[in-house]
Amino acid sequence: MMQKIQKFELTKKTAIVISVIIFGLFSLFPFAWMFLTSIRAGGELYTVNQSPFAVREVTLDHYQKLLAETQFVRWMLNSLTIALAASAIALVIGLIAAYSLGRLRYKGGGVAALVVFATYLIPPVLLFIPLNDVVNRLQLSNTLWSLILVYLTFLVPFIAWMLSGYFKSLPKELADAARIDGASRWQAMVLIDMPLVLPGVISVLFFAFTLSWNEYLYAFTFIRSSSKMPVALGVVNSLQVGDVFFWGQLMAAAILGSVPVVIIYAFLMDFYLAGLTAGSVKG
């Protein structure tokens, strides 16, 4: 009996190790291939068929050219501007709405929460055509502002929804005590309750940043000049000359363009996993 159990444990362990390896290879291979391509001399790329994993000559050429000869740095700065501005504005709007939805009781509050949830689920496909018209009429077409404004459509419902969950789980006693001591509603909200959801605010802010950083469809629709593009768009749409792809440079750009987001997740993975249960699953 004992032996049987031990044997079972052993096969179970090997099965798990094998699955981890398979999932790991599948998940990481494209990134590994990206990296290998980006450090390979140009000519070597096209002899891949002989020995794809032997890099005969490691070179940083592609990175150098990318930074020196293309608008890559500009795109990174554009992405940074858009993501920071959109996240900050959306946070202010979403935070007070979340407080209202999660913490206060009034007629219609439940319906408002449902509307937020429903809008959180509306995908950009349904909105990019009319929003293009709106952006044109506001004369914001081909500007960073068009994206800052339009990213509010997914950031505000997302933030309001996630943070209202945090506010719901707060104990009411602290704010009530402050109100008995003469604090106004505004003071109770800003001085007592909001500091308590700071961890939620920080994680939501980072997700908002990455959502904005990664967005493609709206950027593709509104932005035409290469110098105005965010990195997720510029790398894909401006790095090829005619039909020619410079794969070394493209892969270098794909790696550098992903770095900010990957760093954020590396620090915030636990927040992210907790958020999955708290926010997106519960809604």
Binding site: S27, N49, P130, L152, S184, Y216, T221, M269, V281
Partner: protein, 314 residues
């Protein structure tokens, strides 16, 4: 004359005082304070989501062209002509084929990933981080790696298949309709598995250990335990995450656009890519809006299901 003026002034003043009192006590009332805090969000929701949505429905009933202020109401003409367009019908079928296949695969492999991760003890953080990477990286950039991997001349996948002896010679991954469809689905699945995996894992962790112990005492084997303990416990999460993924997958754009642009021969178009090509590239806003509108009933249905779930959970 001045008497009248005075009395209106007085009225005005007392009105103002009244308003001030009303405002101050009002702010302290939960309701008014709550509504006021919602206003900025309502401006966004109505102005940037509600209004464009109505606009989109309206456009779909017109012959509006991009950057043309004048257009005519044409009724359901756009919809009628779409239903007679084989490319559109193909796109409709593709969108469902793509979504259903990809969501089922993501659910299946995501569940396995979660079960595996739940057993990983050593190097837990590193393993999780590695699995999460495809979901985290900006998709338009990671898709580029796949474009390179599916290259008709230098595909590393073809190289592996050649080495293993499965096929001889080159494969035009993105050049044949069936292969191209499989390719875009693969990329969607690759990117989406971690989302399912991590979400399901979060639910797996909450299954009470006693239930498993009780099941073992009752003589249940691993499969029985999975079916009778694990599955019922995580079922709500499976349902919610599947519905959520459906919404996102039905509206997918960049995987197909970057890999195939809807080709070869329009065989991989999804509603989003065809709507983009029609409304933005070909400037036919009316028709493009009608294409996108076909998604609406399905999305509404899914959102309705989600909300029902949510209410039951509360």
């Amino acid at each position: 004359m001045s008497a009248i003026n005075n009395s209106t002034r007085l009225d005005d003043l007392s009105q103002r005082a009244k308003f001030q009192r009303w405002w101050q006590t009002g702010l302290e009332r939960e309701g008014l304070f709550g509504y006021l805090l919602l206003i900025p969000m309502l401006v966004v929701v109505l102005g940037l989501i509600g209004y464009p949505f109505v606009l989109s429905v309206y456009f779909s009933l017109t012959d509006k062209l991009l950057a043309q202020p004048d257009f005519q109401f044409v009724g359901l003409k756009n919809y009628a002509s779409l239903l007679e367009d084989p490319i559109f019908i193909r796109t409709l079928v593709n969108t469902f084929n793509y979504s259903v296949t990809a969501v089922i695969a993501k659910l299946f492999f995501g569940l396995i990933m979660a079960l595996v991760l739940n057993e990983v003890v050593r190097m837990r953080r590193i393993v999780r981080a590695a699995f999460l990477l495809p979901w985290v990286a900006p998709s338009s950039l990671s898709i580029l790696a796949w474009v390179w991997m599916f290259d008709s001349q230098f595909s590393i996948i073809t190289y592996f298949l050649n080495q293993l002896g499965f096929v001889e010679g080159k494969i035009a991954w993105l050049g044949q309709p069936a292969l191209a469809m499989a390719a875009v689905q693969t990329v969607n699945i690759w990117r989406g598995i971690p989302f399912f995996g991590m979400t399901i894992l979060a639910a797996l962790v909450t299954v009470p250990k006693e239930l498993y112990e009780a099941a073992i005492v009752d003589g249940a084997n691993a499969w029985n335990r999975f079916v009778s303990v694990t599955l019922p416990h995580i079922a709500p999460v499976l349902a919610v995450v599947t519905l959520f993924s459906f919404v996102v997958t039905l509206g997918d754009f960049q995987i197909v656009w970057i890999l195939t642009k809807g080709g070869p021969l329009n065989s991989t178009h999804l509603i989003a890519t065809l709507a983009f090509r029609t409304a933005i590239r070909s400037a036919d806003v009316g028709r493009g809006s009608a294409i996108a509108a076909f998604l609406f009933p399905f999305l509404m249905f899914i959102i309705y299901m989600q909300i029902r779930y949510l209410r039951r959970e509360d």
